[in-house]
Subunit: 291 residues, 2 copies
Amino acid sequence: MNPTTPNPQPATNDTGNARQRPIGVFDSGVGGLTVVSALRRLLPSEEIFYLGDNARIPYGNKGAATVERYSFELTGLLLAEGAKAVVVACNTATALAVPRLQDALKVPVLGVIAPGAAAAVAATRNGRVGVIGTHATISSGAYERALRKLSPGLEIHAAPCPLLVPLIEEGLLEDPLTDQHIARYLRGLLEADIDTLILGCTHYPLLKEAIARQAGPGVRLVDSADNCALAVRDLLRSAGLAAPETHTGTLQVALTDASDRFLPVVERALGLRVGDVGLRRVQGVALAGSV
Amino acid sequence: MNPTTPNPQPATNDTGNARQRPIGVFDSGVGGLTVVSALRRLLPSEEIFYLGDNARIPYGNKGAATVERYSFELTGLLLAEGAKAVVVACNTATALAVPRLQDALKVPVLGVIAPGAAAAVAATRNGRVGVIGTHATISSGAYERALRKLSPGLEIHAAPCPLLVPLIEEGLLEDPLTDQHIARYLRGLLEADIDTLILGCTHYPLLKEAIARQAGPGVRLVDSADNCALAVRDLLRSAGLAAPETHTGTLQVALTDASDRFLPVVERALGLRVGDVGLRRVQGVALAGSV
């Protein structure tokens, strides 16, 4: 009414405020904290709000419609926390939901697949790339599509490794039985003479040493977590959304099930201190755009 | 108003109708079909409505409050299907939710733990009983309580076997790696000289032969599924709720995630034909009595 009243939300302040807002990160559980760990190392000024849907974990052997519905729901909770960008720190959810999330939302949405595919294309010398992940990720063909878009001539060998997530969640990171499971899963890929292997699940960086042992020195491992963090940095810079470098970012973690047996394993393996964990209730209620 | 109008729901007809209504059975996924298979063999006249919550499977490593909430929700869906009795075909949900379900509901609620404990007490000769199950089932202490109530002097040895469910769901029922995992899990129980082992998870009957191989001929296996079916038969008879013996019962199956990779494994292993599968949406909405 009063023409001298300042606009309460001028565009410049908007951007200023937006830069201080958290990066919202979600995963089916706490495995996506591998991405958070990489983000914290690379972008120490950023606030991070992490949401793990451990009440419904795992996503990797569930149907596409279910995973898409869950992803919209979690994204809604991150937006309610004021997220300036959404990072899908779960390969299964990236494979099945990121394109529709990007269509539906104004804030930038970034998954783990495109960055991993780009890093693999840069890494391979012989043009033979392996991908491992959950059933849902592998059968979606999302990595193949992302790799072929960048380099149509690649030879791609994909293998679902469904038992690696439960083995990791039991903390069997250095265990002869885990090694035997990995050897079995990698057999076909190694016979196909891959020189690059995408760890297409955000749990797998916790098993990097065991996988490297079985893959041998001739295979380069591409870690979703590190490459996703690099892509987040570039995205925030180009969108003018990076936090001021003088700021010291904090990490807030919320889960959908208050109790999580796997969290101490992750904290120990990553050297990450999570502190107090919040609780969010998921209601199955669909956001616009959900199925 | 008209005193000659017959009571539309006389007590006798009520009982008559109730007998024709289905037994409602729920589990975290399709593993509880081992209980359905036992029910179908023992009670071929009964209608069965089975609900598997595969959108949120597994329950075995989730928190007690979460499992209780899910159990109330699934029970509500079974009551909406007209269930005359509710069978909790999941050891984890039995351990964490059956007492509160029994307090809250008028229809009889039966879990898998009390029948399994009774069968183990009848089976043991040396008084040393082993129990295997998920993390949540074992850490609840529900089997110990049920066993001690029946036989306070028993020596009970319990071991969580968290990887058996994923191994079963991958169809690795006859596999050297599965045998190695079982051997590791049973080592302590066998050293304690148990002569009876409760398979405290409704998935485990699918692994009965492999478990028997590792346990050896001196150990009697107690199967939740068979003993639960016997208890359901006794319960329906004593409550006057058994279906007329002339009736041929049918099986209806509904899931919360339309796609289930494990269902064909179960059908093949049990020789059970499930037919068309319905879909039910779980909304996280709490029934009265839920947390």
